[in-house]
Symmetry: C2
Subunit: 541 residues, 2 copies
Amino acid sequence: MKFEEYKSVAELEQLAKNPPDLTKEGFLNEKRVKEYAISFGKWRLLYGTERVDEKICKALKTLALEAKVFEKMSKMQNMEVMNYVNNCESEQRRVGHTAIRDLEKNRKTSDFAREAAEDYQSELRKLKAFLEKTEKFNAMIVVGIGGSYLGTEAVYHALKAEQRNAKKLYFASNIDPDKVQSILKEVDPKQTLIAIVSKSGGTLEIKAQEELLRKRYAALKLNPKDYFVLVTGKASPMDNPSLFLEVFYMWDYIGGRFSVSSMVGALPLAFVLGMQVWEEFLKGLYEMDRHALEKKEPLKNLPLLGALLGIWNRNFLKMDTLAIIPYAQAMNYWSAHLQQLFMESNGKSVSQDDATFVKHETSPVIWGTVGTEGQHAYHQCIHQGTDTIPLEFIGFATPQREGDMVIEGTTNQEKLIANLFAQAIALAKGDKNKNPNKYFSGNRPSRILLAETLDAYTLGALLAYHEHYVAFQGFIWGINSFDQEGVQLGKVLATNMIELFKYKREKGCLPKDSTSSLNRAFIEELDLLQGGNLKSAKKLA
Amino acid sequence: MKFEEYKSVAELEQLAKNPPDLTKEGFLNEKRVKEYAISFGKWRLLYGTERVDEKICKALKTLALEAKVFEKMSKMQNMEVMNYVNNCESEQRRVGHTAIRDLEKNRKTSDFAREAAEDYQSELRKLKAFLEKTEKFNAMIVVGIGGSYLGTEAVYHALKAEQRNAKKLYFASNIDPDKVQSILKEVDPKQTLIAIVSKSGGTLEIKAQEELLRKRYAALKLNPKDYFVLVTGKASPMDNPSLFLEVFYMWDYIGGRFSVSSMVGALPLAFVLGMQVWEEFLKGLYEMDRHALEKKEPLKNLPLLGALLGIWNRNFLKMDTLAIIPYAQAMNYWSAHLQQLFMESNGKSVSQDDATFVKHETSPVIWGTVGTEGQHAYHQCIHQGTDTIPLEFIGFATPQREGDMVIEGTTNQEKLIANLFAQAIALAKGDKNKNPNKYFSGNRPSRILLAETLDAYTLGALLAYHEHYVAFQGFIWGINSFDQEGVQLGKVLATNMIELFKYKREKGCLPKDSTSSLNRAFIEELDLLQGGNLKSAKKLA
């Protein structure tokens, strides 16, 4: 059945015509704050500042059941083939990011899932031995792009406070040559491991960076094999152990954006944070995975409730973006990871059931930076702009590090969280000021995720919350959240364009044929800026 | 006259019903790429991949003239009172960020503008002397938030390649105590200047951070007066020279988000990059300022054309966001600055003329990270999502640093820019693949800003391009781009919330009165997470 055919969808459309008015005197009160709140593990979700009431929540619950979200979540965690689109060629793969982190002693999942968990455990044992062997290295450069580093970077910064050594972690994600040059200025190659991370083993950016770095090491008379480590899909074109100090594997059932908990994240994060922190992190993920299966009270399932509130705002209240704003400086990179997780998973238009084009909105634009920064930047637009921008706030009761102080009667951490709460209230209630320039319409929804402190276990649970939030939304929208065909066309066209640059470099001119005329026009524009010469070569060594 | 009353608006609405089809065979061709392109200084803007044609461009030009954008730009640059809203209390201020960087020998502007320019030059002379005196310091921590650091941080990272010393620059923007603690771990206080940046001199976050740092210095038996520098508004509550090594001034005619070129940016950026780089940067800004006044051929005015294309996409093709994507790793912080510049300036709903609520959309959500990163993250959604997301790409012909290499026939810089071009083409043309999962609708518009390389002069011009883009849009939308009343409500409510935390810390419980019941509910939720105790105090020194 399709989204628009669900009974609950018709009901929600009706309810959306007259959603609860959060600005009404006394509506947002103590009682509401406490009633619209659920918990799991270390996390509590407050959603009294969303534009929902009992009726709407009930209809959202029906929507989840109509869309069979628990059956699908269970299939996914049991590694049935969930990455597919019917009626057309598609990846046809199992989805295994939850299976690998199943920490249960006697796993009751499918054979596939059990095997995946065991394979992963065996990689982790390999990793432990590897880390002991490479104790002396004080830095690692991760060469990966998109899913091969965004999550790792986000987790690294979030948990840096738990680091107990002086090891450094760098990310040479971009093909931009300036990036890797600026890193090379900071490290001692003799003490630096290079981690090449590429699931497919064929990504242009990664191959080019790897080659550049191998040449650099060779020029220093260092044997790259003693410094280069690989994380790749088993039997990928890069899977050549003779070229690496060690090769770690992932499998095709783990999509890049879901790969933080695989060796993609494990290698660099355990290198800097240690295996113990890594294991705590996995525990957080695992427990949220189990929680996501809890179907007894659907509205008390944390990621499902998040997903449903998101769908209410997106498909019924017609909001096109979602700002995710952690009030924690250490989570500065979180939204970059979530952009990929959400938008690459659910930025789709094709129904998984029959490959027809869907008639409803799918992924909103995900954006946001840390609070309170945003309050002094774009919150003007969130409070008084012409569009309504829903928010997910993330906050913590205590800081990660020592050294906070009581200044004028409160700690800075208290001031920080006070600001978070104040934003949620201000956005919901507004202020019908008589001065139109100071008028706040209110009814701008948000929800708040709260935890005691930001540690590895809590962060693991949060990551799994967001992963399942995305999966549940995909299930309800009836799309395949696990492929990414939308990135292919650009890759093909880039290859053609690169061929022209190559031609130009070899022959000193561009080909004159009509099929390359469009591409040629762009390159000629570039030449124009450089006085028509091949100046891009001028800075070459 | 109001936006919806302009003749051109009615015409554009008609034209928007049937915009040019970029996917039509042969439509996007060599000729179009070259015709839809304009230049100023080092910058070239290609807009053949926008959904415009001659008729639409003509109507957009009429819109600019109907909205009297050149009169308004000239008034702004002459420092007439442009920060106002009629019929209600408003800031009623001049706007002076262009006036201060007027490098003309014989300025033909108003007395106000000339005086502002001279005041700024005198601050710059003070800065030069200060930098000579503080040669021995090897680090600076900038304590500022929002407009007091976002632009500075963006420029710093963009121009780091031009740095010729080992000085470090840190930003303790957030009140989050973890941020400043992590910086303090990295610096030697004896060699570190603390730059307090607050125009109003009353920002909560800044006062709290300053106090924390002063205590820290005092505890180390260092006299804060020998290390603390201030940038503030003349006669602000912080303006007490006896507490600082030096005080630099800005004036109320410079809004935070337009203050990069004032002492806000000058102090930290000249500290690390040197005065010469700073002067080059100012030259770039100044020349784009002059260009913004060029009214002879409105569609060849770079920031105006940008603004008009933005309005076409936002108000007529109904796109709610704008992704700005520099293909340059060094510009990683650019979009965070632009979020503030665009959304705080134009995230408004009130007409400047008569304080009525506008009937059209104003600022879109601005977002984006650097390319090619985004291609491996959220571009899936841009290519195949259900919403159309317009883009502004920024690219460079040559890298900033030495060390790029020819690998398989092309440099990495060539691969980088090839990807940028390929994205613009793929988004515009699409691919009517028979497999629905590989189908790309096309007609997803973008424009490309190109320059030879990313240096101080070029970046200055780009910053002014974006500043004037925003100002022109504000002029056309008929809103006041220069105030930010929308941030006030949250500040007031945060103060109330902080009072409760203070009460609790003093009395060990929360007040029971009904006016604080809503706030109390949130704090009690926090307590719940901590087992009901005042645990946020536990990590205090």
